[in-house]
């Protein structure tokens, strides 16, 4: 590193490169001649109505978006609370204790075969019932 620093010191920051005589003085002069003229008058484009109201429209749209989001979050949270108010077990327990529910949902769905089957299980002879019907 020290050796390198010595080498860099020896070079003394001279790049070893040269330029043609009076290069920089001539360059400035030539460059000025090449520079194009600037147009001083800046042409301003007319501002359209849409460009004028655009920021307000964006602002209104932004607030509408925020309102929708708040409303949506509110709806979702209300729905979630409805689901959590009553558990499935509680609903089933209530339904079972309600007699009309049993009738509607259990007995009405029973067909003839299942009635005969349950009668057989109870020890009732189906033929006796049939005879009773004919006797009456």
């Amino acid at each position: 590193m020290n050796e390198d620093k010595n080498i860099l010191d020896k070079v003394n920051r001279r790049s070893g490169m040269t330029t043609p005589e009076n290069y920089f003085a001539d360059f400035a002069e030539q460059m000025m001649q090449k520079l194009p003229e600037k147009e001083e008058a800046i042409i301003t484009k007319p501002v359209t109505t849409w460009q004028r109201i655009r920021p307000f429209v964006y602002l209104v749209a932004m607030f509408a978006g925020i309102w929708c989001m708040v409303k949506m979050v509110d709806l979702i949270s209300t729905g979630a609370s409805l689901q959590t108010d009553q558990s499935a077990e509680q609903i089933v327990a209530e339904a079972i204790t309600d007699e009309s529910f049993i009738e509607e949902y259990c007995y009405e769905d029973m067909n003839e075969y299942s009635i005969m089957e349950s009668m057989y299980e109870e020890g009732i002879d189906s033929e006796e019932i049939t005879n009773l019907d004919t006797e009456n």
Partner: protein
Amino acid sequence: MKFIPFMGKETPKDDLELVARLREPSTCREAFGDVIKRYSEPLYWQIRRMVNNHDDANDLLQNTFMKAWGSIEHFRGEAKLSTWLYKIAINESITFLERERKRQNISLDDEESFLINTIEADEFIDGDELALLLRKAIATLPEKQRLVFNMKYYDEMKYEQMSEILGTSVGALKASYHLAVKKIEQFFKDRD
């Protein structure tokens, strides 16, 4: 040819006055003439160290000032005038080198020999062997390290200013310079 530090001679007060004159349509052109007089030399050397050839450096310097003149209305004075000009000059140089690489079908691996060839073909040299050797050593560096080394070693630029121009952190620039010095050291060792 004498070495002229780029940032070292910069006087911010003069630059502020120059920027104020550039903003006035009535004094803009004359002020830009002063910009050319003040910055053509340091910008030229930065470009020349990148491209190694006077004619190319001359063309790129002209392009730099043309672009600066074309977008002078957009220069808001947030960055230093010198930083802004330096950015344009470096972009021009990098774009030129990329274009040359493509035109001559040179891969990144062959870039070193391409740059050394341009150094050897350069007509405007002062015959200083050690300086020539250093140029060849710099040509072996990757592009970013080459830039950082030139800015630090030749222009004595502060890392903070380099960071503004190159858009790289100060830490990364310090590391780049350190690596560049190491590689140059190795280059000279290998020659012994």
